[in-house]
Symmetry: C2
């Protein structure tokens, strides 16, 4: 049986080549750029007033005379009339200063009498209150680097420099197959021997957290033909997630069904708890994750392994991982890595109760998974442990 580190490495090695797509800015919100972006225009596109005030030529001004007001330029308008020495135009924030001017004096720092303007700003120098053309970004300049996360502000920035579409790394397509004769749908009454099916909704919700909507979600009985039919239908997805039927019991039909469908097993079983019977395989470029059916194992394996694969498609890091001090001693036997549900405090992380893999009541209020290494048995209060946030 392999361990957690080997599993992670095998998943990485089998993750496929990156796919990119061209999206509008809003579609690309939250994605990672797959190309460097160069500014399509100078920004600002012209020498722009930074204030409401009066534009004039500081250079040609004799520093004694008053200025003569010869016009107005509202933001959004422009004027091509070249101003002479000691002439000024009324101007507003964001408007282009006219030819022959280089400086804007704020409206609060003049005294005006009809069309005569006296400057009352001793600190004024050439260029004051003017945003030079291209002073944010020049046409052709590298605006954002490849691999940059497109945040809302980055989206706004790109819109401002005339970029409308960008190449980003594509999200994978994901399909879900939930297996189990015992599963009742939410709209049914549960009869004896049945439980409410909850793994599909948990996985859909977790994919939504990553802005992914699954292509297909199927719930199938523990019948080999049905499982194989479902697998065959979904093997064109980038990622196929199955739950249940992956252990070694007489009705654990998933590994054999996957083999019958041509899926190549990469590994089956990891030295971990929960989720020991975890299976990972591959069919051409399709990654197949078959998770044990217990709800806590499903969600824990999703956050620990499936997210890793999704991340290899999108190049995006989804959940912070950090070393953090443990709130209380914790002991376990060596031999398995434990992933336990935790709750972050200000200065330490607490292991929650009810860690059994069939229980979700603690996991439901957890904000992180704490990883306790395979070979270590005793963890002391204050020891740094690896914590993966899941919010």
């Amino acid at each position: 049986m392999i361990n957690v580190q080997e599993a992670r490495q095998l998943i990485d090695e089998n993750c496929c080549s990156l796919r990119v797509e061209t999206l509008t800015l809003l579609e690309a919100n939250g994605s990672i750029l797959a190309e460097p972006i160069y500014a399509a225009i100078d920004t600002p596109p012209f020498h722009q007033s930074a204030m409401d005030g009066y534009a004039f030529s500081y250079e040609n001004w004799d520093k004694k005379s008053n200025l003569t007001l010869v016009g107005e330029i509202q933001t959004g308008n422009f004027s091509n009339t070249v101003l002479k020495a000691n002439e000024a135009v009324r101007i507003y924030t964001g408007a282009p200063i006219p030819p022959g001017t280089d400086t804007v004096v704020m409206q609060e720092k003049i005294s005006r009498d009809g069309n005569t303007i006296q400057i009352l700003d001793d600190l004024l120098v050439k260029g004051t209150n003017v945003r030079p053309q291209g002073s944010q970004t020049q046409k052709g300049e590298l605006a954002l680097q490849e691999n940059q996360l497109l945040t809302p502000v980055a989206i706004s920035f790109l819109a401002g420099i005339g970029v409308n579409k960008v190449k980003v790394f594509s999200k994978p397509t994901v399909s879900i197959i939930v297996t189990g004769k015992e599963l009742a749908s939410a709209n049914d009454e549960i009869t004896e021997g049945k439980i409410f099916e909850s793994n599909s909704i948990g996985l859909i919700a977790a994919l939504q957290q990553l802005s992914i909507n699954p292509l297909s979600v199927e719930v199938v009985d523990d019948v080999e033909e049905e499982i194989e039919q479902a697998i065959s239908n979904q093997l064109s997805s980038d990622i196929l997630i199955l739950t249940g039927g992956v252990s070694v019991g007489d009705y654990d039909l998933v590994p054999a069904s996957l083999e019958n469908c041509g899926v190549q097993k990469i590994f089956h079983k990891i030295k971990q708890k929960p989720g020991k019977p975890f299976y990972f395989g591959r069919y051409n470029q399709t990654l197949v994750f078959a998770l044990p059916g217990n709800p806590a194992a499903v969600m824990s394996c999703f956050y620990e392994y499936v997210v890793q694969a999704i991340s290899s498609f999108t190049k995006k890091e989804y959940f912070n991982k950090m070393a953090f001090p443990l709130a209380e001693d914790f002991n376990k036997k060596a031999g398995l890595t434990f992933f336990l549900k935790g709750k972050m405090g200000q200065n330490e992380v607490t292991v929650l109760n009810n860690q059994e893999s069939y229980k979700l009541n603690s996991f439901a209020v957890a904000d992180c998974l704490i990883e306790f290494e395979e070979d270590k048995e005793n963890f002391k209060k204050g020891d740094l442990v690896n914590v993966r946030m899941i919010l």
Copy 2:
């Protein structure tokens, strides 16, 4: 002019009463519960085998005899036949143990000869490998508290205990009005004096980050009638965001237009940079945020103030705020709070270049805003500063 703390308090004081709605679990993913949730059923709904193995009565077993196999219960099936002493059934993980049994021995820990089973597990005690009915949650038990965040795992947990719909705090409805005669749409050529409109797309993208789609987005000219028409159309939203035209210039028509539409001014101008001309008002229950038009001021005011208001509707905390050490000395004059674009490192936070409010190139790659208090002038490397994550 009020300061940042006073502004925050005034926004809080004017935030409206909470609204709740009943949603399906997947619709409620990521929302905050507005009611306590009680389990609709026992979970597990029956005494359930935790293993593939053999169910029998440990209590009635004489601890010497072999067991006689009398049947099989596949997961999803059940049997009402009461087992006698020294009888066993083949059972699978998740199946209900039959009446008269209390314990499951793992299939790996027996030796079987036809229908005769010898137990080879010295550690077996009564109840081993059985998950008692209701051992996760009992019917009627408090399953999740009001104000709990509905994570994907919480969603799965609720589905498992028979809950399909939940009351959550509603997101606010949001409308956006962008004002400015200088604004060209992305599909236009920009002619002289114009710039590409980018504030609407930045705000839409930021709202998407919070899973909110604006009801309406309008771009209007600096013409009072047009602005008033747009405001009147949108005053039924919970939150109305305007950008531009909020300063004191001749064409800053937004404050007057809001007043003409009956909006009550709560404050206008904050001692802060960027975003000094920020306006906040209210019309009945509608909160009105009029942001200065410079792109960096828009996004900074959105994260600092509009998100605070959204949070008061949803009860959700969106962006972590923390004290973190500064990477380099930073000096400013007293009198204004500065919100500067920053980048988090492992152990310290760096102030980025190009902080002018008309520039977005640094903000586009920032992951946080750093708050430098109003009255302090000198911040030293290593000083703790307030950092708000924006990712």
